[in-house]
Amino acid sequence: MAPLAPKTGDPLFANVERVNAELFTLTYGAIVRQLLADLEEVEEVNKQLDLMGYNIGVRLIDEFLAKSNVSRCVDFKETADIIAKVGFKMFLGVTATVTNWNAEGTTCSLVLEDNPLVDFVELPDTCQGLHYCNILSGVLRGALEMRRGGEALLYRRIRGGVPRTGGSGHGQWRPRPSLHPRPCLWPTPLPAVLAAEAGGRRMRRRTGVNED
């Protein structure tokens, strides 16, 4: 009695309980601020955010699979599409676009035009190199690791700095070599290399100049 998997996440998003967007944004901002105060090093904060995201992702994937009824994805392109259209919509209420495919179809970019995490956020100069949304890459890493059984190092850079120009990073996704420390009869490691990048259009560096 498996129903067809929804091609968009809209019906799913309509059915899940939602929280006030400002509360969500403010809570995340408070987390990042507190991490900066505690850890002081921008790189450490990035690592912590990624770790937090990873712990979320390993739990979130089951909920996603249970509620969305998607079946096993045939290839990596389908995986990226499902993440962008159904996954992000279901949990964040926004869809991402999948762009920037490389020739072999093993890397792509997931671009979030309207990222609720970065509403009202401006990075000060003291926080250069901070991957503000790094929790998202951790979530993706955790979620996909549960499915593929391979460890992934997902590195991504937020498109910060000057809007529409300036470095948009890319990431490397490396499969774990075939030794699996946990004996389980589970699918083969992901052979592909994935890069993901998400940018918030509203991430701006405060330049001190009146921007109109």
Binding site: M1, V58, R59, L60, I61, D62, E63, L65, A66, K67, R72, M146, R147, R182, P183, C184, L185, W186
Partner: protein, 141 residues
């Protein structure tokens, strides 16, 4: 009257993380249930290899004279299976509901450690409600 005898949840490594016994006959102690869960995990995996068709995802239904065993495996490797009276209906739906309860009340509990035995009161409460709501009567303990 169709009834559930027992419910098992196995993590992706084959360890038993949840066992609930609803029937009076065939009640098992902890060690036996652990052993049975590991056995089922192995059999499930072997069945995927033995299957003559490609893309087999393992045993979904085992029918015996005195019981049926319905098994659901999520795409993450967690298996939920229920032992019930022969020809009990709607077990697949029930397994899906239990999977959703698992994702809600177990995984979202920040103090629950992944792959560890489930000790979540909310999960127990909601599970009982779900099993009763589906109008699958329980045999008296």
């Amino acid at each position: 009257m169709a009834a559930i005898y027992s419910l098992f949840i196995i993590n992706k490594s084959g360890g038993l993380i949840f066992y609930k016994d609803y029937g009076s006959a065939g009640r098992m102690d902890t060690n036996d249930s652990l052993r049975l869960a590991s056995l089922w995990h192995s059999m499930h995996a072997i069945s995927q290899q033995l299957s003559p068709t490609t893309g087999c995802s393992g045993i979904e239904l085992l029918q015996a004279d005195t019981f049926d065993l319905h098994c659901f495996q999520s795409l993450t490797g967690t298996k939920i299976f229920v032992v019930c009276e022969p020809s009990t209906l709607h077990m697949e739906g029930l397994l899906k509901v239990i999977y959703e309860l698992y994702t809600d009340y177990v995984l979202k509990n920040p103090f629950y450690e992944m792959e560890m035995p489930i000790r979540c009161e909310l999960f127990d409460v909601n599970l009982s409600q779900a099993i009763q709501k589906d109008r699958v009567p329980l045999l008296g303990r």
